[in-house]
Symmetry: C2
Subunit: 514 residues, 2 copies
């Protein structure tokens, strides 16, 4: 047995079941070890942004880390942007980064790079083995660290010789760390504030937006009259019929501040006070009212569902909630597709248990708003702002939940970033329907250009936001990667295509002309 | 005038003529400033790996830095792999990285990241402005540092408020740094070693492989009998009819060591002693003979063409060289396309002045070997081993040299990494012919798997190296990005397609089935 074999076996013992991979020469022993381990599904991505984004999607749906397999510093670097998103989402992801054999590093071969320098920016923990004997131990430590509640992005570096050298070491799988708990004093202070305030809200993120968290939040709301507000870019929210509804904080800072302006008390659970996504001249960055009482029910490491349950109990709330979303369908307006009609079609057609990966940018909001009363589903958003997340996230969610339909709502500009995802969806025959929302531009930037004070943009500025020259033909791109595809230009065409896609299994792409 | 306007104006004053860009909200003022500066061509890339690889290609052909425009830490991170290649190539690249307004950073908005932590791994120099008044100065300093001979990858961070705040500052364009020179003692020692050795070689990289460097190397070879050897992965080499020829060091370490084994004297110019690309169990990493006299004619900062000229003069070499490559054409063998026949077709059809971006991996070597006697041309290689370089490099070279034909030799696996390049080639109507060398696999890894000792790979291992399930249809992908494309399966078809592509202008893709 070599170091790689022991490592992969122990990670499988720990419960790792998926490895998203793009290996190179220095990782060939790790590939050979995966070959011998049937408990881990190895999934090839044709670019590392696909690999890391898929691990994020897997982690969001299972609360356990998928393994990634990345080729030295540059391979890891290609995955950083989606790891940034995963780290902002507090999702467990376990990166396995190959490196040169330790004796080879001093030779400064072309692929040599400062891997630990690169991981520091987004990984909460990075380890490096010192020999074949401790490679498995370091890998398990990274696994354990990734599970620090609610989840962290971690990494370990596996030098090639530690993978290929023989070892007789053994190592125990460490325990999964327990989340921290709020103190009773924090609970009673929050309860008191909610009781004494005139205009109060629970402001929620993280696991508070899971079904159980929402249930207890709904109890709190019914006991106190508090509004329930969710952060703008959340990791995963349970939505649709039967679920407690929340207001989602608007994206633009001034609208968000207005949304919160009448509140005198905000209790934050699973997140912190919101700030605007970007700074703008003369616009607010801090969004909570200056005069409000802001109470944070513990930091990110605190078990939010436990906190919400204890808060509801402390308030003497009924164990049941009566205000939950009712299922309803929307009447469609025929004609060209708008963001709202798109949303209605999705809402009507979404099957129970669907997972929506939303990187729809300017055209995603309509779908979000319209699906409040759809069948029960989970919604995933772009947590860190690094575009190119949506397709890989859908891929990883589909690997995690093979029995559930996955819908990727993808803005055209964002889709292009990690377009290679389509290929892996086909290869693994994943049940993902990709909706490309094709408006031929980085539309959000046309809005932002004005918001930062550029009032009369010229041709150069406009060209840098434009995707129509040439127009991207998404049906051709999908076909090039072996994916069934079609283009729809009217609401009726979209509805027919969605009805078909939701009733069939397997990967497909619908290019939605907006 | 705001900070962004002054910055962009001063960079144009310094001679910057191209900006490869993928901006976001925090860079909108920089976009507006580019709008007002007709001396800088702004080129949109749909992924940052395209942007940075294009800047590398531009720098290789002009020896001046193109500007990049990148969206905060994650946008920059997407460009790191190709900056790694540029940094290994010692090419000037000037990265302009937007960031949040300074007062926004403490709010830890979702896109906040440790930009300087990320740049440290591949940028030789990174600056950050402290106000609108010094943004231009910091940008110019990064520009100057990028020109430290033969070139460096540098970066500066432009916080959004320094871009939008007004300024009345002025700043001088700094001087371009001069390269260092070898000492006379170094020249005479190298000359003496070459005269006294029995089996000697000049081992060359960097600017030594430009036409003038090769000329002086040829003089040295004719005066001393020294072999001329070029490093395996060089930045840019002048080749073809009329040029002094070199032996290219083989890729695999044991073959490289064998290639050098009889030498008693090696003089290194513009590079350092070669090492194997990867480590392997029981195979050499250091490739020069243990007993050889190794002389380094200065480090990378030394003017290599000056060094070679002075060395040739010190040896009393004739000012002329007689041994240069003669133009010849190859007779084609008809039938299926092999690496060698591919190389012959390219050699026969390559027009004078062509630029070849070679990321052909296992199928690129035939083309390299066959083109020794083609029309004069420049050859660019994958300097840092981070795949996904070839298409962006071709793009940047074509922007730099609009009057020259550019040929991208692309392995299918590598092409997929930065496939978005095709779109920009079409948008800018660049004269690039892309040859996708489609063998349906990461073929090099099948070889490497055996070389690291994995003798009986199973289905999981083999599947991680395979690109045939599904088979990628490159003609469809090209069409999806607006590019003319065709597939060729025989030598005759390839020859016809190449004849057409070389005689016409504009972007096109030929999928070569191997």
């Amino acid at each position: 047995m070599n170091g790689a074999d022991l490592l992969i076996q122990k990670l499988a013992d720990a419960g790792v079941t998926a490895c998203f991979a793009n290996p190179g020469t220095s990782e060939m022993q790790l590939v050979a070890a995966l070959d011998k381990e049937p408990r881990i599904r190895a999934v090839l991505g044709l670019f590392e942004g696909v690999v890391t984004g898929a691990a994020d999607g897997f982690g969001r749906m299972t609360d356990t880390p998928a393994l990634t397999l990345l080729h030295l510093g540059p391979g890891y670097a290609n995955g950083i942007a989606n790891l940034h998103n995963a780290s902002r989402a507090r999702v467990p992801v376990l990166n396995m980064i190959g490196d040169h054999a330790t004796h080879h590093l001093e030779l400064d071969a072309p692929l040599t790079s400062d891997i630990k320098g690169l991981t520091a920016a987004v990984c909460s923990w990075t380890g490096t083995s010192t020999s074949a004997d401790d490679l498995a131990e370091v890998g398990l430590q990274a696994w354990q660290e990734s599970l620090a509640y609610p989840g962290q992005v971690t990494a370990f570096v596996a030098p090639a010789n530690h993978a290929w050298d023989p070892t007789r070491a053994d190592v125990q799988v460490p325990e999964i760390p327990s989340p921290n708990k709020c103190s009773d004093k924090q609970i009673s202070e929050a309860a008191e504030a909610l009781m004494s305030g005139r205009a109060t809200a629970l402001f929620m993120g993280g696991h508070a937006l899971r079904e159980e968290g929402l249930h207890h939040a709904g109890r709190v709301a019914e006991a106190t009259g508090a509004r329930l507000i969710s952060e703008t870019f959340f990791t995963r929210q349970s939505r649709g019929a039967g679920r407690v509804e929340t207001e989602r904080l608007p994206y633009f800072g001034e609208m968000a501040a207005e949304h919160l302006q009448n509140l005198d008390t905000l209790v934050f659970v699973g997140t912190k006070p919101p700030v605007s996504f970007f700074a703008y001249p003369e616009k607010p960055g801090w969004l909570s009212p200056d005069t409000a009482n802001l109470i944070r029910l513990g930091d990110a490491s605190v078990d939010t569902i436990d906190a919400l349950k204890r808060l509801a109990d402390a308030l003497g709330a009924s164990p049941q909630v009566s205000n939950v979303a009712q299922h309803m369908t929307h009447e469609l307006a025929q004609g060209p597709i708008t963001a709202v009609e798109l949303g209605k079609v999705i809402a009507n057609r979404l099957p129970e248990g669907a997972i929506v990966s939303d990187e729809g940018a300017t055209n995603g909001l309509g779908a979000f708003l319209m699906t409040n009363n759809a069948a029960p589903h989970d919604w995933l958003t772009l947590t860190g702002g690094a575009i190119g997340q949506g397709l890989p996230l859908a891929l990883g969610a589909a690997v995690a939940c093979p029995e559930r339909k996955v819908l990727a709502l993808e803005a055209d500009g964002s889709a292009m970033y990690t377009v290679q995802s389509l290929w892996t969806m086909v290869r693994e025959n994943l049940d993902v329907t990709v909706l490309i929302l094709n408006n031929g531009s980085y539309a959000i930037l046309n809005i932002e250009l004005a918001r930062v004070g550029v009032e009369h943009p010229g041709p150069t500025a406009l060209s840098l936001l434009d995707l129509t020259n040439p127009a991207i033909q998404w049906t051709d791109i999908a076909r090039g990667m072996g994916m069934t595809s079609q283009r729809v230009e009217t609401v009726a065409e979209l509805d027919t295509a969605m009805a078909h896609a939701m009733s069939e299994q397997g990967p497909r792409l619908i290019e939605v002309m907006l």
